[in-house]
């Protein structure tokens, strides 16, 4: 029988720079910044100053845990709940707010709004608002890494809902066949807009589906940034070693509605209460306080810093002008 070799197996940097293990206090602060950013947005929307938006309140752990495991060479593709991924990557909250408010100093000059933010300087190739779009493009980004002999891997964040789209199947299958260096991160937050995950799949989760396509996978507590970080580091090491993709499923929960404002009237209260009790931010803070790694004073200092950052960010975004009318038709064609 003919032996078909996968063309040009990925040539990856043999000894990639490994990021330092995650500092839990830094992780806490980053999660708090993400939370504060999204709360600021909700507030701005409530006051009619920003369009409605998708938040990822309660899902800060996968963002911080995975992104902190990436090196500068790695590239990111993500979905409509991307603020945490961007902020974890070091995005400027002022420029992000400006983007959401449609201002000229936003990362995309105001053309994206909240739903399609990309930031080339940070290696964020795509926020896809088409559910599944990030999965469709990730393989190409992986391919360019391989063919251009770039050391980076690709982190592709998507939801449990995206796993119902056919592109999930097509993307993982191609990545497996072509040996693409992609870390698929499924943030399984139990919701797909207004539909509970249990209504959309007979399978218990996503990881088993990856395995059936020949993609190695693992499941992790998605409300624990340190566990996520460790799992991501292990997965990334495997990707670099094997030049094959890997899927990490982070089990977590969307604590707020699908798109602000949303009264969550359709959400089972007991389930919500259960998961509120696992909110990753108080959970980590309590643990650090219990372990004596964080004092109340430390926590207060962090909180003040985060608040100041968001105030400055809001002021920056406020001050930024709207794009001029000519911007309507620029950037369409190269």
């Amino acid at each position: 029988m003919t032996a078909f070799l996968s063309p040009d197996p990925a040539v990856l940097d043999p000894a990639p720079l490994d990021p330092a293990p995650l500092d839990p206090v830094a992780a806490l602060e980053r999660m708090m910044l993400i939370r504060a950013y999204e709360e600021t947005l909700i507030d701005l929307h409530g006051r009619g100053r920003a369009a409605g938006t998708c938040t990822a309140v309660g899902q800060e752990a996968p963002a911080v845990g995975v992104v902190s495991a990436l090196t500068a060479d790695d590239l990111i593709l993500t979905n409509h709940r991307s603020a945490g991924h961007l902020l974890a990557r070091g995005a400027d909250p002022g420029r992000m707010l400006a983007e959401v408010m449609g201002k000229r100093d936003g990362y995309c000059g105001g053309k994206s709004g909240s739903l399609h933010i990309s930031a080339k300087e940070l290696g964020v190739v795509l926020t896809s608002t088409i559910v599944g779009g990030e999965l469709a493009l990730a393989t190409g980004v992986g391919l360019s890494r391989t063919m251009l002999k770039q050391p980076g891997i690709v982190a592709c964040f998507f939801g449990d809902g995206a796993a119902c789209e056919g592109r999930f199947h097509e993307s993982l299958n191609l990545a497996a066949v072509w040996n693409l260096p992609i870390l698929y991160v499924c943030e399984n937050n139990q919701w797909q807009a207004f539909v509970h995950r249990q209504e959309t799949m007979a399978a218990d989760g996503i990881a088993g589906q990856a395995a059936a396509l020949g993609v190695a996978s693992a499941v992790v507590d998605g409300n624990d940034p340190l566990a996520v970080h460790d799992a991501a580091r292990t997965a990334i090491a495997a990707i670099r070693r094997t030049a094959k993709p890997f899927l990490l499923e982070a089990k977590t929960y969307r604590l707020r509605g699908h798109f602000e404002p949303d009264d969550q009237s359709y959400v089972d209260k007991a389930e919500l209460v259960h998961w509120r009790g696992r909110d990753p931010i108080p959970r980590l803070r309590d643990r650090l306080e219990r372990d004596g790694r964080l004092t109340a004073a430390d926590a207060a200092r962090i909180e003040a810093r985060v608040r100041a950052t968001m105030e400055a960010a809001t002021a920056f975004a406020d001050a930024s002008p709207y794009p001029g009318a000519d911007a309507l038709t620029t950037d369409v064609y190269a």
């Binding site: 449609g102 053309k111 739903l115 896809s128 119902c164 056919g166 807009a193 207004f194």
Partner: protein
């Protein structure tokens, strides 16, 4: 007469048709969550949430339509139709023909279009002309609650696949709906304003733009006729030609971009079949050849505004016909 919004009119049409015909059902992402009243009245078999997968939603509708059901599917935003193009175009649109008429595809596809929400081009794309271009499909895009109700009912009863596009900016617009609103036939335009000097042809949100422009023009002594197409396919050619025969001037207005849009079709129709009546160039006012931006002022600039319609008409009134 009752006053209701476009969204309520769509729901009312759905409820009435589901009551009338037990083979009508509706499904889509969040349909059962968001249409609680339908769920309660008709039960979980006929009002269904689906997995997040537009292609299989549309394919399921086509397969069900071919074998005895009358599915309505809600695909949410028009750009998401991209994931269902094969099922809509290659299956629902073509298989009646390819089967030599053995199977038919009575199904309705709902989708939202248009600016106003600041969500950008992956949620906002007026792609209705793709479907007008494709065989076997009918396309409806009303502008008032009464028309939404009447045309939605007709769409559900039609034995062909019908796409119903709802401009999101119209969703919460209230309007009068006759209590006993009956199905409105597809393919009949509505004359929204009579006039003698120029014909403004539009559909969906920009019908209102044309009416505002017509008021402004009236102050200027220019008497504009406003035609609301309502149904883009079948297209009410007779209504357009009749009006242009009277006015001799035509401006077509829509939010979709210009190239190969519905405006191109209307202009080409008139350039062929009402050429002798034309007294001035045919103008189109459309969205630009650009994706829809999220930024509020840009999003507003994307959509044709009344003053641009006024200016276009004024330029036509000055135009001298060369023979």
């Amino acid at each position: 007469m009752t006053t209701m919004t476009v969204n309520d009119a769509i729901s009312a049409a759905l409820a009435e048709e589901m009551r009338r015909d037990p083979t009508v059902l509706i499904f889509g992402e969040g349909v059962a969550t968001k249409r609680r009243d339908l769920l309660e009245e008709f039960g979980a078999a006929r009002v269904r949430n689906t997995p997040l997968a537009e292609g299989i939603i549309a394919g399921t509708a086509a397969g069900a339509a071919a074998t005895g059901l009358r599915p309505v599917i809600d695909l949410l935003f028009a750009p998401f139709l991209c994931y269902a193009m094969d099922e809509i175009v290659n299956s629902a649109g073509k298989l009646r023909y390819l089967s030599g008429g053995q199977f038919q595809f009575p199904m309705v596809v709902l989708a939202m279009t248009g600016a106003g929400w600041g969500v950008g081009a992956q949620h906002n794309h007026n792609n209705e002309s793709w479907f007008v271009h494709s065989p076997g499909l009918k396309i409806v895009m009303p502008s008032t609650p009464a028309d939404f109700k009447g045309l939605m009912k007709t769409a559900i009863r039609d034995d062909n696949p019908v796409l119903v596009f709802a401009d999101i900016a119209l969703g919460y617009t209230p309007g009068e709906v006759p209590e006993d609103a009956e199905a409105i036939p597809l393919g009949k335009a509505a004359l929204r304003r009579e006039g003698t000097d120029v014909t403004l042809v539009s559909y969906a949100k920009t019908v209102g733009t044309c009416l505002q422009a017509a008021d402004a023009l009236a102050a200027d002594g220019i008497d504009a006729e406003v035609i609301d197409l309502r149904s883009l396919k079948p297209l009410d050619e007779a209504a357009i030609l009749r009006s242009v025969a009277k006015t001799g001037r035509l401006v077509v207005v829509h939010e979709a971009s210009r190239l190969c849009g519905v405006g191109a079709e209307v202009a080409a129709l008139v350039a062929e079949k009402a050429f002798a009546s034309l007294r001035a160039p045919v103008l189109r006012l459309t969205g630009p050849d650009a994706p829809a931006p999220a930024s509020f002022p840009l999003e507003q600039a994307f959509v044709p505004q009344p003053d641009a319609v006024v200016a276009a008409v004024q330029s036509l009134m000055l135009d001298v016909v060369a023979a």
